[in-house]
């Protein structure tokens, strides 16, 4: 009898763990990622082949679809961090990030272009640091501008950020007098490509660094608790001593810093800038990453890892679709939309509740059945009624 009980117990615990996994926010983006990988493996067994080959500069670097995807996802992942925080605290999204990336990139080039290509390493490092810091300050200020509109003037985030969405690329062009800039110093391209002697793309390292930094920030500060509280119930947060305006502003500033990093990577990739095209539509992908991660776009609770996974899913999806020669590149967006809508529907609270309901019903039916069986047992053999009870 005891052995039987243990069996029952361990059985339910396995089921509980399974249930927990399925209900976990990471579940859907993870499954989507696995399905994409599986799909690619089936259609093209060599899809994930990674090779160590010399690139155009004669460096031995890793190449292959997987490396490309992880590399190209960098900007999106970094943006998803900031977008998740903004979503949580303000209950809205920043649609100006693409345009402010243009501003950030333009700021960097404005500093770097003044230098001749043959300056010493130390001097060059100084220039890079100055240009990056300036770009961070500028982006943070633009973020603060968005944040101030949202927090102090209570404008809906999408409307508030519409301003820079519209004006951002013009501002970016204006910073460099609409010049076509091309940086000839090879060292500038290290940040968006490869550092000589290192075979992993630099943006991957930058992304990891960003993730580590935000993990530490969330660990040593109350950013998570505060922004979630503000996003869920600003009035109640205020009465608990939190200043909702400051927290909203703060999340926009953090997003601004993320934008600065993205802008820097973007211009370093090509050593140039096209004001109207750089980081085009990236805001939509960033918002999508947050949504795919199962986060509520209405604010409140968030799961950063899920957003990050969501960002990788989007990049994987895009790359996968590009691999299909039959698909016309102009219709890729439509295919992408179909997959995305499926994922969003599956992860919607409506479907989740429906699944939960079905499960509850099944469990209830099972319990009733067990109860009926037990009472029948009891009636049948009064003497062994003990056994009947235990088996319930």
């Amino acid at each position: 009898m005891t052995a039987n009980e243990i069996k029952i117990k361990s059985g339910t615990s396995v089921k509980d763990i399974l249930g927990k996994i399925v209900r976990n926010q990471l579940f859907i983006p993870l499954v989507a990622l696995l399905l994409l990988i599986l799909f690619n493996l089936v259609t093209d067994p060599g899809f994930f082949k990674i090779a160590l080959e010399p690139n155009s500069d004669g460096n031995m670097v890793l190449s292959g679809n997987l490396i490309t995807m992880i590399d190209y996802a960098s900007e999106l992942v970094i943006l998803a961090i900031g977008m998740t925080l903004v979503t949580s605290a303000s209950g809205g999204q920043d649609i100006s990030v693409g345009a402010t990336i243009a501003i950030a990139g333009s700021t960097v080039l404005r500093i770097v272009k003044t230098q001749s290509p043959d300056i010493s390493g130390a001097k060059f490092a100084g220039i890079i640091i100055v240009s990056f810091l300036l770009c961070v300050v500028v982006s943070a200020l633009f973020g603060a501008f968005n944040g101030a509109l949202v927090a102090f003037f209570k404008i809906q985030p999408m409307v508030a950020t519409l301003i820079l969405f519209t004006a951002g690329r013009s501002i970016a062009a204006w910073i460099n007098n609409n010049d076509n800039i091309s940086i000839t110093d090879k060292r500038f391209s290290y940040f968006g490509n490869f550092i000589p002697g290192i075979s992993v793309p630099t943006p991957v390292f930058i992304t990891i660094l960003c993730l580590v930094i935000i993990a530490i920030v969330l660990k040593v500060t109350n950013l998570r608790l505060y922004s979630q509280s503000v996003g869920i119930n600003a009035s109640s947060s205020r009465l608990n001593g939190i200043n909702p305006k400051v927290i909203k502003l703060l999340t926009f500033v953090i997003l601004g810093i993320c934008v600065a990093v993205c802008g820097f990577i973007k211009v370093s990739r090509t050593s140039s800038i096209t004001y109207s095209v750089i980081a085009n539509n990236i805001e939509m992908d960033a918002i999508l990453a947050v949504a795919l991660g199962g986060n509520n776009l209405g604010g409140g609770k968030f799961n950063l890892s899920a957003s990050v996974l969501g960002a990788y899913v989007i990049q994987f999806l895009t790359t996968t679709l590009y691999k299909f020669k039959e698909i016309d590149s102009s219709s890729i967006s439509a295919y992408k939309a179909v997959v995305v809508i499926l994922l969003i529907i599956i992860s919607s609270p409506f479907v989740r509740r429906w699944i939960d309901d079905m499960k509850n019903k099944r469990e209830a039916a099972k319990k009733d059945l067990a109860m009926a069986a037990a009472s029948a047992d009891e009636a049948l053999n009064n003497i062994e009624s003990e056994t009947g009870k235990e088996s319930v």
Partner: protein
């Protein structure tokens, strides 16, 4: 089917993950009766109502409406079948007008003659004696008016079954009487009314029958004459219950040194919310109260003390030392805690876990850069869940899925954890069950005995009389009297609230 039953529910079951919210519950409502549904928090009243109105699908059992078995698929479906509901929390749209709220979702033609509808609405509101214009935006009305509009909407829908879920918790005495008259009219017309409330007096004033639930199970159905009040309470609690007699009192006020330096003192405190400048002080170990009708300024006064609304003038002294309290954090740092009147809007942070809700205030006081370790937070939460006997599945359960009384206990835990010198409780007992009410009142007296100062506000005057040693009476934003000692009785308080003799 019993004789004259308009609604019969048999063997209703409802499960939530890990919880049996309803287990084989029967409920019968007869034509033209007012039937009270009673039970503690989490007894299953709200769940039963939600199953009946199609908010939750039931997991077992049957529902008959006037001899026909029905399956209620959605709230809309319930409405069409003649089941109208007025919920405890107002579920109308604040950004629409009164008339729009009354007729939304009920107009059949795609074209709507709003002028006609406004006239209709005005006529109905007039009949019911609700002092509001049909074209007023609902969000601008007081909670009481909003509640009555919700009832007007339900009444106008020609319902056979009317469910009133805590309709009186935000109404004052006069409005309650108006509502009762309305209920009696409807009863005479043959409508069956299910009345969910925590106010025992109201049950005995207006109801014909009582069904008691406990822990998701049916305790029994009783005719009101057969069930004296004490027995009702003991059935709800599932134990013999020595009423409120244990509480109080009178003696502890002797320990208070009223001549010493007050813990908190305000002189000419002025806010922006329409209250006149007022003076106020409270001593160590004292429990005082603010009373007055809705809108008299009692909540606004304590909000001004806590810095919840903008303070524009006046001097504040803590232990005799002048301090500036401009925002809630200032007040918190000076040892003041404030449990707000509107639990849902200002108190809970709905999606956050019980644990996060408990530690929130103390965490904010500790600072942005000093988060508690997980173990520390868990220890705090554990301690207070045990101390206040909070019924929750776990610390990680979102607070919004707890019952009202348990939510309130979590908020209380939050402010007790902040370890204040001066605790302001604005309507801590609103909309929660008798057992918890008594617990909270006992807690208040215990805190006072430990040397804390408490301001306790309640709409139920007998609660105030039991717990407070001094009452400040407000009318129209002004302090109009202060009662203590022998003056602390219902009649004197009523007279002072009504005005005419006190200065």
């Amino acid at each position: 089917m019993k004789d004259g039953a308009v609604l019969e529910m048999r063997g209703i079951c409802k499960f939530f993950p890990g919880v049996r919210a309803l287990e084989n519950v029967d409920f019968t409502l007869r034509q033209g009766e007012i039937h009270a549904l009673m039970g503690e928090n989490g007894a299953g009243k709200s769940t039963l109502i939600k199953v009946l109105t199609g908010v939750y699908p039931k997991d077992g059992g049957e529902v008959w409406l006037s001899d026909t078995p029905v399956h209620i698929k959605s709230p809309q479906d319930a409405q069409n079948k003649g089941i109208a509901t007025v919920y405890q929390e107002i579920t109308l749209c604040p950004n629409l007008t009164v008339a729009e709220n009354m007729y939304i979702g009920r107009t059949k033609s795609p074209f709507t003659n709003w002028a006609k509808i406004n006239r209709q609405a005005d006529k109905l509101l007039d009949e019911l004696g609700i002092p509001v214009s049909a074209t007023e935006q609902l969000g601008n009305c007081s909670i009481a008016i909003q509640q009555m509009v919700a009832i007007a909407r339900a009444v106008d829908m020609d319902c056979k079954v009317l469910i009133l879920d805590e309709p009186t918790s935000s109404l004052d005495e006069q409005e309650v009487q108006k509502l009762f008259n309305l209920m009696r009219d409807l009863k005479a017309k043959g409508v069956g009314i299910i009345f969910v409330t925590h106010f025992l007096e109201q049950v005995y004033e207006v109801c014909d029958r009582i069904t008691v639930l406990r822990d998701g199970k049916l305790v029994g159905e009783y005719i009101i004459e057969d069930l004296p009040r004490v027995q009702l309470v003991s059935k709800m609690l599932g134990k013999d219950f020595d009423d409120m007699a244990e509480i109080k009192s009178g003696s502890e006020s002797e320990n208070i040194d009223l001549n010493g330096t007050p813990v908190y003192q305000a002189i000419n405190l002025t806010g922006t919310t329409g209250i006149k400048p007022f003076d106020f002080e409270i001593h160590k170990g004292e429990v005082n109260g603010f009373t007055g009708l809705l809108g008299s300024g009692r909540s606004e006064s304590v909000r001004a003390i806590f810095g919840a609304d903008r303070v524009t003038g006046g001097t504040v002294k803590i232990d005799g030392i002048p301090v500036k309290i401009r925002k809630p954090l200032d007040a918190m740092k000076h040892g003041i805690s404030y449990l707000p009147e509107d639990r849902k809007l200002d108190g809970i942070v709905g999606d956050l876990s019980v644990r996060d809700n408990i530690i929130l205030a103390l965490q904010v006081m500790k600072g942005f850069f000093k988060p508690f370790s997980k173990a520390q937070a868990e220890a705090f939460a554990d301690e207070y869940i045990k101390l206040l006997n909070i019924k929750t599945a776990s610390q990680d359960t979102p607070i919004k899925s707890l019952s009202g009384g348990n939510q309130q206990k979590v908020i209380l835990a939050r402010w007790l954890l902040a370890n204040p010198q001066y605790l302001i409780l604005d309507e801590p007992t609103r909309g929660i069950d008798v057992g918890t009410k008594v617990e909270i009142q006992k807690l208040v007296l215990k805190l006072a005995a430990e040397g804390k100062s408490v301001t306790f506000i309640s709409s139920e005057i007998d609660e105030m009389v039991r717990t407070c040693s001094r009452l400040i009476v407000m009318r129209d934003g002004k302090v109009v009297g202060e009662l203590k000692g022998d003056d602390l009785n219902q009649n004197k308080i009523m007279a002072t609230i009504a005005g005419g003799e006190s200065k």
